[in-house]
Amino acid sequence: MTETTSKTKTSGLIQPTRRGALKTLAMGAGAAATMPLWARYTSAQSAEPIRIGFGKHATGIGAAYGRWYERTSVAAIEKINGEGGINGRPVELVTEDDGTDPRRAAEVLEKFANQSSCDVAFGTLFSHVVVGAAPRAGELKLPYFVCSEGHHVASGMLNRWTMQPGITDVKSQISAMAPFITDVLGKKVTMIYPDYAFGYDHRDNLAPAIEAAGGEIVGSIAIPPTETSFTKYFPQIPRDTEVIYHVMIGPAVLTFVKEMGEFFGPSRPEIFGFIDSLEATDLTSPGLEFLDGTYFWEGMPRYLQDDAPDYVTAYRDAVGLDANGASVSDPSDVSTSAHMFSCWETLHVIKAGMEAAGYQSTEDRQALIEAVEAMTLMEAGPAHPGGTKMFNGKTHQVFGPQYISKVEGGKLVVQKTVDYEETMYPDEVDYTSMSF
């Protein structure tokens, strides 16, 4: 035994040396310095992090959304961890690229459930990816919180393990827009939509909504998704059209707007679109001048509005958005503001659900689903910067405010906010009656 050992044993007692005592003190001081970080988690039965699997559209057609969905999710996780995590446990985001592909998305869910030990999965946007992956979530009994805005959840085609508590669906969005279109813009509407599922959601829901609001659809023009030039479609617009309703998306949308501007010139009808067309696109891009004075639906305003409450500014700061809805570090990197807030809100719903269920382990997944199903009103605030919402536990779908904005000087200015009460429709399913 030498003098360099930190402790010596004499007569069965531990005799601390000076160096050993200093080491212990130093370790104690270090631990005390970090106490605010770990002390928050000490009440948890397990210090293991809660792992949330995030299926990111990092590649494929959803990549622009995926990038911003991840940034928003990371910011929300930082906030939640800063406030003590969930049930005293830190939260960890486990990100996997699903390639915006249904097959890969199903594999990713398997990875979350069986390999990464994730407690829940969340974050999928594109509807075909959700529909392709949801059956696996049901088989794996993995809570799957989607941020998709498709009507597939509320329509009843999925299962009890799939929920959409952070973003409203297309059906409620359209029904909220129709009265504004017919009351303010005009009664005779021609719709131009992409000839596939996203467009069909609009086609199928707009006509009854417009008719219920006292208007009529005078033209309906489906454009194939592979189309790159649109001039041949514009002559199909009936002459008596008062409002053009467009939901074109994809890389050709800039061409679509430019060619529509060239076709109409200064004497255009009123134009109403869904911002999905121009998410992640700078409204001051060349060719988009034609959109000045037209209207858009937004799930949450892209541009910082004059009357924005503190919790909205806090959310934007946390995500890293400037006043124009672009990245603070790169003004040309425009966000997907109208959708990505759903990641923030969904993560807060997961937190609230886990706390209500007393969630401790994957054994409590069913209790988590039941806890979320029991949720109703979600007040606007730091957890719900998109506005006050109402969750319907039977249909697993949230209803919330819809924003109607006008392009003024290359910026979107909110003209009207439709409250969630005006966006609700009768239940089409009762998931709570289904077995787990």
Binding site: N114, Q115, V131
Partner: protein, 312 residues
């Protein structure tokens, strides 16, 4: 068929059966999916690898099987097994019709014509969205995913059924390529003119090969639908035609084991690389370039060239 042929292929089948009992949950699921997709690749290999028909439209056959099952189950509540047989019939019929038209061309023209047929099939799926639900696709109802008391959504049942389907497809493929009919297909691939001079009905053989290939691809598509519960237009898109080509080229075109090896290799390459970096497609791309440079005949093809000359 030699004893060595049988031993090597039955060995793979036995190995996959043994894996059912030892694989961890995640890899168990991956292997089930790989086996179903390998059946698709086996189907493609018969057309491309053995007969030399470079098709860029095989996803339409996979999609025909998938939608045959999907529409039968979803709209007509037809149970899994009869629905799968309907899917098989859809694939065979489509392959026959496409073959009768497309085989009037050859080489690059055949490739383009099959690509166009596949694109037309894809757009038909989108067009009839009332029945197909467009690119969102269909979720097969749970009660339609059972064969008797076997619940296909159960992990173990699914693995064993995928294994059974793969085993049948693999042995069928082995039998076919060792059969005189299969040797004629290879002759067509190597020198069609000479085969014709020898008196073979080359057009009929190519059509038969395409129908067999399309039917096996449809078997995989139908099985995928009923086993994994989802039917989607993306599976009928050009990407899935290219996947089949890629899997077969990587594994070894014109080898019986190549399609399985190709699917397995690509699946795990993407899976492992995505865990290392977000730029995993770059890693996959570099590995593919290296494989093309140093093993141009694919993994199993290279094994055959170097070590095992009579590997089927």
């Amino acid at each position: 068929m030699t004893r060595r042929d049988l031993t090597s292929h039955l060995g793979l089948i036995a190995g996959l059966f043994a894996l059912h009992f030892i694989l961890p949950a995640y890899h168990h699921g991956v292997f089930a999916r790989v086996m179903v997709l390998a059946v698709y690749a086996i189907g493609y290999n018969i057309a491309f690898g053995y007969t030399g028909l470079l098709s860029l439209g095989h996803a339409m056959f996979f999609g025909a099987g998938m939608y045959g099952v999907g529409i039968a189950s979803y709209h007509f509540a037809i149970p899994a097994l009869p629905a799968w047989i309907i899917g098989l019939g859809c694939g065979a019929l489509l392959a026959l019709v496409v073959g009768l038209l497309a085989l009037r061309t050859e080489g690059v023209s055949f490739m383009i014509v099959t690509l166009m047929f596949a694109q037309a099939a894809y757009l038909v799926i989108l067009y009839f969205s009332e029945y197909t639900r467009g690119d969102d696709g269909l979720v097969i109802p749970g009660d339609m995913r059972a064969i008797g008391s076997w619940d296909l959504s159960d992990e173990g049942t699914r693995y064993l059924l995928a294994w059974a389907l793969f085993s049948i497809a693999l042995m069928l493929s082995l039998w076919l390529v060792r059969h005189p009919f299969g040797r004629v297909l290879v002759a067509l691939r190597e020198n069609e003119e000479r085969a014709r001079l020898l008196g073979y009905d080359t057009g009929g053989r190519k059509l038969a090969a395409l129908v067999i290939s399309g039917t096996i691809s449809a078997a995989a598509g139908g099985a995928y639908a009923t086993m994994f519960g989802y039917v989607g237009a993306s599976f009928a898109g050009v990407q899935y035609s290219i996947f089949a080509l890629l899997w077969v080229l990587l594994g070894g075109a014109g080898t019986v084991l190549g399609p399985f090896v190709g699917v397995l290799f690509m699946t795990y390459l993407n899976d492992v690389a995505s865990g290392v970096t977000e730029a995993y497609m770059l890693i996959a791309g570099v590995v593919l370039v290296l494989l093309t440079l140093f093993a141009p005949q694919g993994i199993v093809g290279e094994i055959r060239r170097r070590f095992w000359k009579d590997l089927p």
